[in-house]
């Protein structure tokens, strides 16, 4: 264990190096997708912590198929699929966190869809893991997925009204006669 305390500085340099490599990779991946799918593939978006490739909502499945099946990429795992509501710009973003076990490489795809009528291609046929993840996004954010085999609520009861992770969601006063409000001793109204 001697010298364990000194290796902190070294690991930071290592992270910086892999970050540079990753930048080159993501540009190359974007070029590859752009060659096949054309204008549906948007720009590489810089973020403080990682970069992502923007894709049109009707090209996700084709892009996903390419990313999974291209021998140099082999993104065989959909690690995470999250949705996030941005009422300010009238959009819901779906973020795909892909991972390749073969090359130990991550990639983030980002799809924007209109908040009024959110509709995105399903990637269930590419990664079966997307089945439940897309159902969750449908349940909590109300995004519909084109081509999903079984799109219904997963966490909330079937007769629930609304999609709670939307920013303008109003919590219900009662559910089947059970009131959802309890006067708190601290004077904070629950559910507010």
């Amino acid at each position: 264990m001697a010298g364990a305390a000194e290796c902190g500085g070294g690991s930071v340099a290592l992270v910086e190096l892999s970050r540079v490599e990753r930048d080159m990779e993501i540009a190359a991946i974007r070029r590859l997708l752009h060659d096949k799918l054309g204008a549906a593939v948007g720009v590489v978006e810089e973020g403080p912590h990682y970069e992502s490739i923007r894709i049109d909502d009707d090209a996700v499945e084709r892009a996903a198929m390419l990313l999974r099946d291209t021998p140099e990429l082999r993104f065989d795992c959909l690690s995470n699929l999250s949705g996030c509501d941005y009422p300010g710009r009238g959009a819901i973003d779906i973020v795909y966190d892909l991972y390749s076990y073969e090359f130990d490489r991550s990639l983030v795809l980002r799809v924007s869809t209109r908040r009024g009528d959110p509709l995105v291609d399903s990637v269930e046929r590419v990664w079966p893991a997307a089945n439940w993840l897309e159902r969750e996004v449908f349940d909590l954010l109300g995004v519909r997925f084109r081509g999903h085999s079984d799109l219904r609520r997963i966490l909330l009861p079937e007769d629930w009204v609304g999609h709670p992770l939307r920013k303008d969601y109003v919590e219900p006063e009662q559910y089947h006669g059970i009131s959802t409000v309890r006067e708190s001793m601290l004077g904070i109204r629950s559910g507010s």
């Binding site: 912590h49 065989d76 966490l155 709670p164």
Partner: protein, 385 residues
């Protein structure tokens, strides 16, 4: 006297022995569903055609609460994402906030985190071991597991004051330093505990009935495991040698020397229920090794960095992946620069493990479903959040 029974595939056909597919409800209150999970089972006699999981009975809207309570205030809620292994969830949240806010964690704090997390991992695997035995029909291993779990609970209680929902980690470090003489107590426990793991092997792992119930049942191939995003011990049991602690190291895991147990197909095939069970048992030994090394190499210094009470990380988003006892937990956290997170999404190991059950269920016996759920070590709050 013998009766000839002819099985037919088409229901209620003339001649032969007419069979009918029936729909059974299992759960949400069921002793072997590990919390409130429900299955709608379509079965033909004892053989299942399909088991459709119905989850959400413990959906506590943790992700929405994150948007209400602020960065520090969300820490106790992360305990309840996976209450069987609360430390690792604490760690994921702390890492997400630190990564967004650019907080540097003192080295001693990282060591404290690792010690706590690995003790928590042993705790969690002990419960998986005990519950699995009980689900298969052996009650005694459960009492053994709970007895040892109480010992770790005592150790963790001494560390942070809670037995189950620890709330030990803080953004920037840990809440308290190790109590006096802690290393000695933990080492004394480990010296006693590790020989007991071998005893568990004698007691349960190599029991003939146990093997018959689990070997070659519900085999998951490595390709299928990756496609369904199975993670952690479930993935390793399928033969994929992958552990975030070693392959995408975070915290101070690179300092430690440990091996990653992988399914070998000892009694049946790689990826069967028995392999998923034994990988967890081996992981307890490895976690004990890590705890030992961490206690020996514990550096001095502070245990928490200076973090403002009104913590406001700059706008941005991160993906954090942490190896919990139920595998790679992936956190997607968005900050808009305010004092509350803008969005938190948690993809947990149990969630993906539940999603694979439906495609595995065809042809299994109903009793095998219980074995399958137990071997995947599904915990309801992790599925529902």
């Amino acid at each position: 006297m013998s009766v000839e029974i002819e099985f037919t595939d088409d229901h209620g056909s003339a001649g032969g022995f007419a069979t009918e597919e029936m729909t059974l409800n299992m759960g949400p209150q069921h002793p072997s569903t590990h919390g409130v999970l429900r299955f709608v089972v379509k079965a033909d006699g004892e053989v299942m055609r399909r088991a459709v999981p119905d989850v959400g009975y413990l959906h506590r809207s943790i992700e929405k609460i994150a948007e209400k309570v602020g960065w520090h205030g969300f820490m106790p809620y992360t305990d309840r994402v996976d209450y069987v292994a609360a430390m690792t969830c604490n760690q994921a949240w702390a890492m997400a906030a630190e990564s967004l806010g650019g907080v540097e964690v003192p080295r001693r704090a990282e060591y404290c985190r690792v010690i706590a997390a690995e003790l928590g991992r042993i705790c969690s695997h002990l419960l998986a071991f005990g519950a699995m035995g009980m689900d298969i029909g052996a009650f005694t291993p459960f009492t053994h597991a709970i007895r040892e779990r109480e010992m770790i609970n005592d150790l963790l209680e001494e560390l942070c004051g809670a037995r189950l929902t620890f709330n030990y980690l803080r953004i920037g470090g840990v809440a308290w330093d190790l109590p006096p003489d802690y290393a000695h107590k933990v080492l004394r426990f480990l010296d006693r505990f590790i020989p007991l793991v071998d005893e568990f092997d004698d007691l349960l792992s190599n029991n003939k009935i146990y093997i018959e119930r689990l070997a070659d049942v519900a085999v998951i191939s490595p390709e299928m495991a990756i496609a369904y995003n199975l993670v952690g011990p479930n993935l390793r049991a399928s033969g994929v040698d992958y552990d975030l602690r070693r392959d995408r190291p975070y915290s101070v895991y690179p300092d430690f020397d440990f091996t990653v147990p992988v399914g070998k197909g000892t009694w049946g095939s790689v990826g069967d229920c028995w392999e998923r069970y034994i990988v967890r048992l081996h992981e307890m030994r490895e976690s004990a090794k890590i705890v030992r090394q961490a206690l020996e190499g514990l550096p001095g210094g502070p245990v928490i960095a200076k973090v403002r009470r009104n913590f406001k990380p700059p706008a941005g988003e991160v993906h954090i992946r942490v190896e919990t006892p139920r595998g790679d937990q992936s956190w997607y956290v968005v900050s808009d620069g305010s004092e509350r997170p803008y969005r938190v999404h948690i993809r947990t190991g149990s969630f993906s493990a539940m999603s694979i059950i439906e495609s595995l269920s065809n042809g299994l016996m109903i009793a095998d479903l219980v074995a399958l759920i137990a071997s995947l070590d599904v915990v309801a709050p992790e599925v529902d959040r």
